[in-house]
Symmetry: D2
Subunit: 240 residues, 4 copies
């Protein structure tokens, strides 16, 4: 079996302008994610907003099995042409893992068909992530829950379609809950939304968080089959 090819996309702004974030992710969130994915044996490249075509050319996407997306400040700076391209590739089977504040990215909102709004609070409170789908490949290797000492809070209601599979529910110290791990199927593609990952906390160094993202890459990898045929067709049986 050939290696799963992952592209980690990051808008890469916070890390370059905010010293607090730079201390945690000196080479960017994408670099940290790429590193633990490489250690797992995936074939990984990165791409960022400032690169030409945001680093997501036709060629890159055609050679990507799973795309990981982190964005926050610059959703509107992402060109519609690139969004269209990613969208088409997801429907063709490319996996998409949407992290944290990328709930508001153009591509996620487009695939969901909803506003993807939520409640939020930046108070560095404790988050405890509970597994509610014990059978799920994305929960492999996890216990009943894991904790993040400090995270931004996201709270319900989360304006998404009912997830096709709900894997995690978060508990927050301040009193909220959140559907933190959500699977969606669109076209031939698999989409996983994973909540944690605020830029001011070392969340992507957490081994449970890494475990989840690694599992999600395997889960989201494309199924190999011919693309469906749409449009006008002849009858397969006699009609009259």
């Amino acid at each position: 079996m050939s290696k799963i090819r992952v592209t980690v996309w990051n808008e890469y702004i916070h890390e370059r302008k905010d010293p607090e974030v730079a201390k945690i992710y000196p080479k960017g969130i994408h670099t940290v994610i790429a590193e633990f994915l490489r250690r797992e044996g995936f074939e990984v490249r990165t791409a960022t907003l400032d690169e030409e075509e945001h680093g997501l050319t036709e060629e890159v996407l055609n050679n990507t099995d799973v795309l990981i997306w982190w964005g926050h400040l610059a959703h509107d700076k992402v060109s519609d042409i690139v969004v269209d391209r990613v969208y088409r590739r997801v429907l063709e089977g490319m996996g998409l893992i949407v992290l944290h504040s990328a709930h508001y990215s153009k591509i996620f909102k487009r695939l969901m068909g909803t506003t993807c709004s939520l409640k939020w609070r930046e108070a560095g409170e404790k988050e405890r992530i509970w597994v509610v789908a014990p059978w799920h490949p994305i929960a492999q290797g996890l216990g009943d829950y894991f904790e993040l000492e400090h995270e931004e809070m996201y709270g319900e209601p989360f304006d998404i379609p009912p997830p096709d599979e709900l894997v995690f529910i978060s508990w927050f110290k301040g009193g909220e809950v959140f559907r933190s791990g959500c699977c969606f199927y669109r076209g031939m593609g698999k989409i996983f939304y994973f909540r944690p990952g605020h830029e001011t906390y070392p969340t992507y160094y957490d081994e449970n968080v890494q475990r989840v993202i690694i599992n999600a890459v395997r889960w989201a990898a494309p199924v190999k089959r011919p693309r469906p045929k749409f449009g006008r067709v002849e009858p397969l049986e006699e009609i009259s």
Copy 2:
């Protein structure tokens, strides 16, 4: 309880330019649908493409509980402003019933986040619609199946998200199947896609088809509750 207020929208083109269609629906598909809904006791108005703002002003939509949509030739003629308006109202709770070729309408594609493509064939073949959710309010009053002697064929794959509830599956004489009655939840709104209704057949005079649309109106009517609060919130519990 006050009456459910229904608006039946039709692009109303086939009926005015194609004599074959005009014979079946001389006053338009919308008029036939409006009539059987009125007999059921709903408060019904109609709206068509050629009216100002396609008849779907802010005021009309704000006073619509359930919107029914039929379109085919002129999806692209529907203004984006009106589509935005309908979209917002669905997320606020307005029910939406999408009929037949409106699978390709802007509003349905936007709410689904997929292409909504399918196979099709216009051969007037027999369709048999099977109930696969015997508990569903939209199946009230129906037997295990009902038949339409002549219909256009729509076949799988149908490029939609997995329906939140699958009510009907169609069998076609020519060899295809189709998920013909699909429920989706988006925001506070309920959406029902119902397959039958090609303009050259008297489908909307069929009493089973009428029964389904009547049931769907009741099912799709808005739930009364305050709109969710999104955005920044204070903690409900002590954090430190």
Copy 3:
């Protein structure tokens, strides 16, 4: 439209042997539930474990649209004959609302096909119940959440099939979450599991809890249609 006929079943043991519980529910939990349902206009009767056939004769069940079930200490005392009877009626379309500790009742476990196990703790801690299905009829009239000052804790994982619809998620002060409002479809019947209602707290006097149960009764009422035909059938079309 005729009135929905509700039967409220309670094992009715705690209230008679535990003074603390008797103070809160002197005539039993079933009586309190029956009262607020009657005020809403439903036709309500009650039934308890000690009655002949537990008060759930063929005749009673055949005239019940929605059955509400509370049990805790005596699940094993419920006769298998009565469980079979309830089971058949649910598949025929009778609604079933399963409250709190009845997650371990014979009828719920049988309909779920799983152990229905969970984590628990009796510490009188705060529960906050969040709506995650803003479109759902069972959430009608509720805000984004409601609170119960003192409740028993139930925590994930909850060993049930993935709910067909997830309406509520609970937050508990002690650090857990729980899928507190779960809809299931089985045969022609609708089932709603609702978590709160420990016997030592006045939960069933809470107006939000009452609102939920009232909404659930309406949602669970049977759909009127002929029972499906199973077994050997002749072809509907020529086969050769």
Copy 4:
């Protein structure tokens, strides 16, 4: 990665008493299934009704990752002790693939919580199996549909819970449809029901049918994680 360990269970009666069936499956359906699974690299054993404990001892099941089940004439002959054992193993994570007439097996009915009834007809008619989940691992390698020239008919309604994932829908020449590939999650286990496989047709020699069963084995293999903790727990956070 170690090999997936598959146990193929067959009641193995038809093949020994009916010459017509014996001609197609001289060594039993289980032997044919075991052979194509071995060619795929799985570690495969078989077990049949007449063996001690039906060949499904604690030891065998504890060393089975995925159990395949074919039965028809002798569902009632399967001992409840063995059914309990299989049931517990499924909830612990063992995959279960239920074939054709095993829809009426004790184990499937118990895990579903419904009657699993359906319509049927033995007329050797054509079945066409359509993929409706193009993203699904069980559809890997398949086109939009595949055909079986002669099969028993199973028709809707199929009295199962709404499948957690619906992969295939069958079209039958005689006019029916059927949800032919259904995924269910129960406890830590994954269950796949696959319709085709009547004993008088060479269905398990069909390469598409084999492809589906091979894919299903991979999909159903257990996720590795500690078993959930149920029962009384201490608070994780201060309660007072």
